[in-house]
Amino acid sequence: MDAFKLMKELRANYEQEGYYIPKETGLNLIESTEQNGAGISAKCRDAQVEDLWGLSSFFGYSTQTFVLAVNLLDRFLALMRVQPKHLSCVGLSCLHLAAQRSAPDATLSSGHELIRIGQRRFTASDLSRMEKIVAEKLHFTSSAVTPLTFLHLYHQVALGQSPSRKEVLSLEKLEAQLKACLRCMSFSKAKPSVLALALLRHEIKAIQSEDMWEMTCHVQRHLKIADAELQCWAERVARCLSDYASPRCSRPNHKKLLWVVSRRTAQNLQSSSCSVPDLPTIPEGGWDPSQSEDSSEDLSSGEESLSSSLEGEGAYFPLHLRRRR
């Protein structure tokens, strides 16, 4: 796509994006809800998005699917008051919807498989009902303008005339970073165009490419994005990504996961765990603890060391030969 068309496309999406941003008041409500409160808290939402990230990675869904699913989820949560117990159903239905729309011809797992792997407790019919509700409330037809849309367009702009730059500015890396950011609820408030630009600039700053930086400034001017806004989000992005890239691992709370094994393995595990021996320990070179004092047995520990060196072989030598040694 040539530069002019790209810019037009950018412009068009920019004008559309307002429809796809979750309602701010709704998001604020979620952020202010306390954990274990009556409604959905930010932590709940983040945990759910983590789950969706895991599932979409496992099933090999594209970044597009994941980003779309998160977008749907955020918009729905901002719109409707959802009870925490329904959150997992909402999350999974958003993912399923997104998967169906983004890649209808790709290997699609049926709702059953999603539910089974995701270890959810509801049924497939629950899932499809929820999907209908979500689609209806959000007037969802086929796609949405998400940060990914902008990211792809910006990427093309930044590559500009030289597509060989692909190795330097990797789209996969940017996508991975976007996924990392989306797991944090605060980024749902950002406008997609601004978030994507902030992300791109962060990466370009890292690889220190002057002319790509110029491109981004050009885009910013074209879309009339305010400096202050961009700066604000750029900072947050930087913080989030430094957390993501740090080698510090967080131990997952794996007790949430259900480990189902077959009956035979379960039996096997049970029987092997109870193998307590019933013979008491015999200390080496010492007395049997139940034996009472016996004064005539005067070669106590000396005998043990003697036995291991001499008697081991000595046992086979007849007595008269032994004495000759």
Partner: protein, 513 residues
Amino acid sequence: MSAISASEKVDGFTRKSMRKAQKQRKSQGSSQFRTQSALVELSPLPQLKDVPSTEQQELFTQKLQQCCMLFDFMDSVIDLKSKEIKRATLNELVEYVSTNRGVLVETAYPEITSMICTNIFRTLPPSDNPDFDPEEDEPTLEASWPHIQLVYEFLLRFLENPDFQPSIAKRYIDQKFVLQLLELFDSEDPRERDFLKTILHRIYGKFLGLRAFIRKQINNIFLRFIYETDHFNGVAELLEILGSIINGFALPLKAEHKQFLMKVLIPMHTAKGLALFHAQLAYCVVQFLEKDPALTEPVIRGLLKFWPKTCSQKEVMYLGEIEEILDVIEPTQFKKIEEPLFKQISRCVANPHFQVAERALYFWNNEYILSLIEENIDQVLPIMFGSLYRISKEHWNPTIISLVYNVLKTLMEMNSTLFDELTASYKADRQREKKKEQEREELWEKLDELQISHSGLAHSNSHMLHNANANNNNVNNNNNRGGGGPPDAAQNEDMEVDAPAPPVPAEGPPGLY
């Protein structure tokens, strides 16, 4: 052993059904086929408790001698009265030794040991059932158990009596005694082996002078079992005794014990009947590692060397043992063996046998192992990633797929960056492979075309008629080849393509092809 053809071995049904059909009676075995020249009837002696204490010693000796008389239990109707007398006497003797003090005077020892030797030391009969499968079949029980059981009981009480003096007893309980005792461990009767286990355990505890000898003999039995006969019924019991011995080893461990671990215990994992004694064997190995953690690396390398390749049941056992070892492993030791170990685990995880895969995946349910993995995630994740990702798409068993999801999710959460990197590089690898495959296909197609055009030109110099025929031939060849497709060119990637002779126009020099 009867000759079993290879096809019978593969078909697991044949042998068992045949054996079940053959077995009609519950077998009893005994080597005490003693037919007395004169059927001596036992005359009942007075009870010990009824006799004044001065005479008790004498009576005790008489009863012991009386019990040296052996009876034939294969015939269940003869000598019933005498058998009953002996049984009652033995019972009485057991009680007498357990409850009274001052019973074990010096003169009593030879009588006691001689009675015991006479009764229990016997050549074990050959097995009734040569194809005895310890897991499936009922064992052949000792027919004279009613008497022998009491003799064992008596021996045990004798050893555990507070007045027992090893210094006196060692004249009679000597190496010969121990050797004969060890041979009895091959008995098919599990009750007998259970007694023998406890008895040998007590003897080992009390007779320091015999300890090295006992260890050496057990060594020999095991080595014979592993390398020569592959048959010994008492392996589990001996291992239990060894477990309690190993538990009591003093630190630092003697070289002799370390040798035993590496030369006997580890190779014992290769035995065919591992299932019968694996729990005890694993316990011994783990005890060794708790005593001396430096042994971890050679032990695990040894297990990996002997890793079963065709027996999935054994693989599951090995995995259980590895988990037990990992439960007690020190983090420094873990670092030394993580690479070869996890390479093997990643192979197990991808195993089409679902029990093996399940057992391997279940490691991730173990908190301590998770913490070890977490510390070493940079080494572990790249090794595990490939097979986990692959089987998440390809495995046939849905339970396995859920478990793989759990494992991947856990690893994902431990280090997302690394995980993403590995995903990206895995996908890139797959794409490159696909590209290579495509290139190979195109290469073959190109070669085909060149071949056709080449052979087409070869004919073009000949007579026109030949040309017409040749063209037809070529068309046919094309059709044939088109159906077959390019051959599987799995080998040479950097195949040099010899450029065939450039196509020469028909007017060229004649017949040089």
